[in-house]
């Protein structure tokens, strides 16, 4: 019986003690927060003044007058707003104040969110030790999100290790993140061959291969047309669909035959992207297979096929009108809907 009473007293005392501690902590935080906001305001004023008078010494004094954390935080956002000479001079001031050293420490010892932010800041500050710090983090950091952020930062400063090595260091679990799309989009054109080689690897994660193909196509990789044409027949529907999207952007001499074949693929995403590519390339000779595709079981495919036909202009619209006027069927309904799309009369 006594135990129950003791337990009750213990629980209530514990609860109240914890809350009391939290309230005291919060009071202290409130005071610190006000001071931090004031310092941030002062620094921002100094940064704005610098853009007007370019007085580097005055800026350095202001940077050293506030805690390094405040200087880095406010400075990073400000730096991202500047370009050209102003930007470079500001970077020099930050580097001369030794701020990147602190960012390097944050990359090593901060929590996950801080480490990601530190990687971004190191890329922006472009200090001497940035590459060494980032490479070390890519090797050692335990969080895959941080490793991806580090890889993007390394890519930005032109020091990304070979793609195969980078992806191995990021790890298999991280190779499904859409952040890698960001990495590939920032890839320097002179290293596009690496992306192509990786996208062609059958043992690689399909998501990554598809992302690499998308990045190549977006960067205007006309020289990879042959590669896209081959990848359109890839056993992975994700890769094949990406290759078809790429073909839709870059075009290819053999595109009609490739697209007709893809329109018979078992994957609905492949069929939809094939129809979409036909529309983008304006291949009006594919009107017949596209009309067939309007009977597809998947709505996305039917819609893509009808849209492609519509994009052919008068000829395509004529086909759609004929289908819409035919007996009631899946394709008839799709054609009617697509013809009616837009503001009501």
């Amino acid at each position: 019986m006594l135990y129950i009473w003791h337990l009750s007293i213990l629980l209530s005392a514990l609860s109240l003690a914890i809350m009391l501690l939290l309230i005291v902590r919060r009071v202290l935080q409130e005071r610190r927060g006000t001071a931090g906001a004031d310092q941030r305001r002062l620094l921002l004023t100094a940064l704005i003044a610098f853009t007007e008078n370019r007085d580097r010494e005055a800026l350095k004094t202001a940077l050293l007058a506030v805690p390094a954390r405040v200087a880095i935080d406010a400075g990073f956002e400000f730096i991202s707003l500047l370009r050209g000479e102003e930007h470079d001079e500001l970077l020099s001031a930050f580097n001369e104040c030794g701020l990147p050293t602190l960012v390097g420490t944050q990359l090593e010892k901060g929590n996950g969110a801080e480490r990601i932010h530190a990687a971004e800041m190191l890329a922006a500050l472009r200090s001497e030790n940035a590459v060494a710090n980032l490479l070390s983090a890519l090797d050692r950091d335990r969080s895959r999100e941080v490793r991806i952020a580090v890889a993007i930062a390394l890519c930005d400063i032109g020091a990304l290790p070979p793609l195969v090595v980078t992806l191995r260091k990021i790890g298999v679990a991280g190779q499904r993140s859409r952040r890698l799309i960001e990495l590939f989009r920032r890839f320097p054109p002179k290293r596009f061959d690496e992306l192509r080689d990786y996208a062609g690897r059958q043992d690689a994660v399909p998501f990554i291969r598809a992302a690499a193909i998308d990045a190549l196509a977006r960067a205007g990789g006309f020289q990879f047309g042959e590669f896209f044409a081959r990848a359109a027949g890839d056993p992975s529907s994700e890769v094949a669909a990406a290759a078809l999207r790429a073909l839709g952007l870059t075009g290819h001499a053999n595109a009609p035959a490739i697209l007709i074949k893809a329109m018979e693929n078992g994957g609905w995403d492949v069929r939809a992207d094939a129809a979409d590519a036909a529309g983008r390339l304006g291949l009006s000779e594919l009107a017949a297979p596209l009309a067939q595709l309007m009977d597809d079981e998947a709505w996305t495919v039917r819609y893509a096929a009808a849209n492609a036909l519509r994009s052919f202009g008068q000829k395509g619209e004529q086909v759609l009108r004929e289908i819409a006027a035919s007996d009631v069927s899946r394709r008839q309904r799709t054609a009617s809907l697509i013809l009616a799309e837009g503001p009501a009369a």
């Binding site: 019986m1 129950i4 009473w5 337990l7 009750s8 007293i9 629980l11 209530s12 514990l14 609860s15 109240l16 914890i18 809350m19 939290l22 309230i23 919060r26 009071v27 409130e30 956002e77 991202s80 929590n111 996950g112 969110a113 801080e114 990601i116 932010h117 971004e120 969080s143 999100e145 952020a149 499904r176 993140s177 859409r178 952040r179 799309i181 960001e182 989009r185 998501f207 709505w299 996305t300 819609y303 009808a306 799709t334 809907l337 697509i338 009616a340 799309e341 837009g342 503001p343 009501a344």
Partner: protein
């Protein structure tokens, strides 16, 4: 002659053990939740600022359709939609579904956004009441309005799912307010793990008392009324403790219908929202769990505390009672509809922990607790229970309740710190203590009433009278 007293004592003992057993089970569940939630928080890094999120994820954020069912929302609908259109997300559209409102909801939208009738082909993947018309806006490409016959919230949401074209959709109540960066934060799991993430829920917070202008919460304040304050603590407990914990072990059974992001393909695969359901949000999440496990696919249903959606809490006992009985009916309905999943090894943790939690907390919890309120004093009066035991157990029950509430405040303080002033924390501490004396008992009575209505197959929703969040209000 038959001695009835022995039978009465035996019956009383059985009942007492049932009450004690259910109480202990609930205690164990809360303790487990606390430990897992604390672990989840310790593993979770502090969140990045909004500006950084945009810089980091802006280019790869997937398109999202915001589905907003609206029924008789003429007072707030235009301002709510304005605030949704101003969300900070690179690629989204807002689809308002006017569910056969009897007031001027549609007319207000037509006037407010210069709507014109529009034909938009869409996949009829889910069934719903007929759509009377689709409207697009001359002012913004992001807005579509679906005008349909009345069919209830789930029916309206299904119509929205059909019409939307984005791979992800977000359901939100028409009278709720999303934080500007809420979509960006909710999309993060879909960016980091796009193949496995199928649903993400965020935190629902109570906006009563806060300063709201232009469809934004400008200043966070605590409600001035005690009833709303109780609900603040309750919501913190539900979201920061229970959902965080179950999400950590992929056993989350509820993504709130007031704010949740779902992958469209999976929702269509399970047949969308169940029409006529009292708990259509819980129902959908259970269906998603079942579908993914039946098809043996890896998946994640996540709760992340940072994306915050503000809602208005009932400030009258009558309205709150209706809301709570409806929630109880929803939980019971889902439990019994999918009862074959309970303790079914095929459904692993979801069957054991997820359904076990519903059984203990929602199905048995209110009955055992209300029985306790009635029988324990009765047994004491009859001399079956000693005064010492009565007092000791009662004090333990209350102090444990206080402790659980305080722990959820600790989690809030460690993770979000949404209440700006230390004074707020002190007020909430006091509320966490007071709620155990009266409010908790009342809540359990409403839940028992919900049980009763469920047994009588009462399907009425009751009216949720709201005073409206938008507009200057204190």
């Amino acid at each position: 002659m038959f001695d009835w007293s022995q039978e009465i004592v035996l019956g009383a003992s059985i009942l007492s053990w049932f009450i004690i057993g259910a109480g202990l089970a609930q205690t164990a569940v809360y303790l487990l939740q606390l430990i897992i939630a604390a672990y989840a928080l310790s593993k979770r890094p502090p969140v990045a600022r909004s500006a950084l999120l945009w810089h980091r994820y802006g280019d790869v954020a997937p398109p999202i359709a915001l589905l907003v069912p609206a029924y008789n929302e003429e007072v707030n609908v235009v301002e709510s939609v304005h605030s949704m259109l101003a969300l900070e997300y690179p690629n989204f559209e807002v689809i308002v579904i006017n569910d056969g409102s009897k007031d001027q909801t549609l007319q207000r939208l037509i006037e407010g956004f210069k709507l014109v009738k529009f034909h938009r082909p869409y996949e009829e993947a889910l069934t719903h009441k007929p759509i009377r018309g689709l409207y697009s806006s001359r002012m913004t490409e992001r807005l579509f309005v679906v005008d349909k016959e009345n069919g209830g919230k789930a029916d309206a949401q299904n119509a929205g799912v059909n019409v939307c074209r984005a791979p992800l959709f977000c359901v939100i109540d028409g009278d709720s307010i999303l934080e500007p960066d809420a979509l960006m934060r909710a999309a993060q799991p879909f960016i980091d793990d796009p193949e496995r993430t199928i649903a993400v829920g965020g935190t629902i917070r109570i906006a009563n008392g806060s300063r709201i202008e232009g469809g934004r919460v400008r200043e966070i304040r605590l409600p001035s009324r005690l009833l709303a304050l109780f609900q603040v603590v309750e919501y913190l407990r539900a979201f920061l403790m229970a959902r965080l914990a179950w999400s950590r072990i992929n056993t989350l059974m509820l993504v709130s219908g007031a704010f949740g992001v779902f992958r469209r393909a999976e929702v269509v695969a399970v047949g969308g929202f169940t029409k006529g359901s009292m708990g259509e949000d819980m129902d959908l999440v259970i269906k998603l769990h079942r579908h993914m496990m039946d098809t043996k696919r890896k998946y994640r249903i996540q709760f992340i505390p940072e994306p915050v959606c503000w809602t208005e809490a009932p400030e009258s006992l009558r309205v709150l009672a209706r809301q709570r009985t409806r929630w109880q009916r929803g939980a019971l309905e889902c439990f019994f509809r999918y009862r074959s999943m309970l303790f079914n090894p095929r459904y692993g943790r979801v069957g054991f922990l997820g359904f076990g939690h519903i059984l203990i907390v929602d199905v048995l919890g209110p009955i055992s607790e209300v029985l306790g309120y009635v029988l324990i004093p009765a047994f004491w009066l009859l001399g079956i229970l000693s005064t010492e035991y009565l007092l000791a157990f009662t004090s333990l029950v209350f102090t444990y309740g206080v402790c659980v509430s305080v722990c959820s405040l600790v989690l809030e303080e460690a993770e979000l710190q949404r209440f700006p002033r230390a004074r707020d924390l002190a007020v909430l501490t006091a509320v966490a203590v007071i709620e155990n004396f009266g409010y908790r008992q009342l809540n359990n009575l409403w839940r028992v009433k919900g049980w009763w209505q469920y047994l009588r197959a009462d399907q009425s929703w009751g009216e949720m009278t709201r005073t409206g969040l938008t507009g200057p209000k204190k």
